[in-house]
Subunit: 269 residues, 2 copies
């Protein structure tokens, strides 16, 4: 089993992802796809007159402010536009895909964090009423039921809170939770860069491998800032949780899944 | 088993539909929900600068012109906004709902009609490249798999063509196909009017019952014009196809499902 996370930045080649996934699936490779939709959400939110806002947290991370209106736009893009695009492309390749959000069948379940700390003008403030949270449980029963019946699951945030609220959640973490739950051979995190870069955005500075055992080595963590740092720490956690290997790969190219499995990108194991 | 179709016009009380469905589900009543999203699609399409266009066909029926951009907006609203709203409301009521479009698992499969005849200035013309079609098959296997495992299916157009294209399709017909496939005890078609009205929009002119055997009686069909005529003929077809009864009911009220089952609305059997 492999888990393929397709990022939501600009430049993703969805057609290539679907073709490659379909061809692997037909060879008998079990797989689950998880996807994002961030950049298209920003565009639609702008077009609908509700532009995206981001909060910077005390630790330096940023996240999307998710009020009710933003949550609805988020669902339109992630569950409607991007999820159905991938499902349709897979159906055209002859694979019987089933798209689910984390609220469907409680696939991604977690705690809602409705009060979010953020930094503004150097001061720590609290934003309340946010629809955000983190995935703590994956409904592996439903996913196994579908896969055993021949369906390829295509998963997307939002998750569902224990109280039943839809919550915006990080797609990489959700994918990692899926991979850990199934003790997947590989978790592929595909985006619009070739992998982890020592000098972002210089693509020739690609780091081919980071041994999970050396993750505390400052030489490695020095290059991983902000969002990328979170990704690397998440990858290490997945490997420690039983995932065979994590690969940061490129989703702009032809055969993006096969290339990453064959060694392109940044390998963490 | 009952099939509840929730229309997509303005005024639908989604909270009441979810509460009522959840309470019936907890009593052991098997049910499948199918929904629309037409009026919100019109609003979002306007807001995104791609206003809805409708074609009038030679028989007098109208349908939404569905180019690729319209299909994407349609998917955002039906699969993202409305489907996830209903799934979330059901989750908040403690029911493990799973939302699926017709392309997920090929739940609604049919023929794409990419060339659509329409009337303009009295002349018959042909619009090509439309993403539209009609449901011919329902994947009852997937729906039964989910229900047997305790999940309540919440279904929405689009359907999928035999070639794998997403196609805009009539939600009432899709719901009727589901009801017929399962030989449901009842098919409820809930919208923002109390049922079939002799003098639309006068709600006091509600027709309480139309025996399917008398459907060819001109007294009944005289009152059913345009879209309502299509609904009545679809209902009769469902009854002839083995559905116990079809009820046109009101989705604006509290307990909309129980009220329709108890005799409110227009009954066809």
């Amino acid at each position: 089993m492999i888990v393929v996370k397709v990022g939501g930045s600009e430049g993703i080649n969805y057609q290539a992802v679907a073709e490659d996934a379909a061809s692997l699936w037909k060879e008998g490779q079990k797989l689950i796809i998880v996807h994002g939709g961030s950049s298209e959400t920003n565009n639609i939110a702008e077009a609908l007159g509700h532009p995206p806002q981001f909060l910077t947290h005390p630790g330096g991370m940023t996240s999307r402010l998710t009020d009710r209106k933003t949550l609805e736009i988020f669902e339109m893009v992630y569950c409607g536009l991007v999820n159905k695009r991938l499902v349709e492309l897979l159906q055209k390749e002859g694979v019987n895909a089933v798209g689910l959000s984390g609220i469907d069948g409680r696939v991604f379940e977690g705690r809602r964090k409705d009060a979010v700390k953020y930094i503004e003008n150097g001061k720590t403030k609290v934003h309340r009423g946010d629809y955000t949270g983190s995935v703590e449980k994956v409904n592996t029963g439903l996913l196994a039921l579908l896969m055993d019946a021949g369906y390829l699951p295509v998963l997307t945030p939002p998750a569902v809170s224990y109280e039943g609220d839809a919550i915006n959640t990080d797609g990489d973490t959700a994918a990692s939770m899926v991979a850990t739950s199934f003790r997947a051979e590989a978790l592929l995190l595909l985006s619009n860069i070739p992998g982890l870069l020592a000098s972002f955005p210089d693509e020739s500075s690609l780091i081919p491998e980071i041994p999970a055992s050396k993750i505390d080595d400052p030489r490695f963590m020095a290059v991983a800032q902000g969002r990328m740092k979170k990704k690397v720490l998440g990858a290490v956690e997945a490997v420690r949780g039983g995932v065979g290997r994590v690969i940061f790969g490129d989703a702009r190219v032809e055969e993006p899944i096969r290339k990453a499995l064959a060694g392109a990108g940044t390998l963490i194991r």
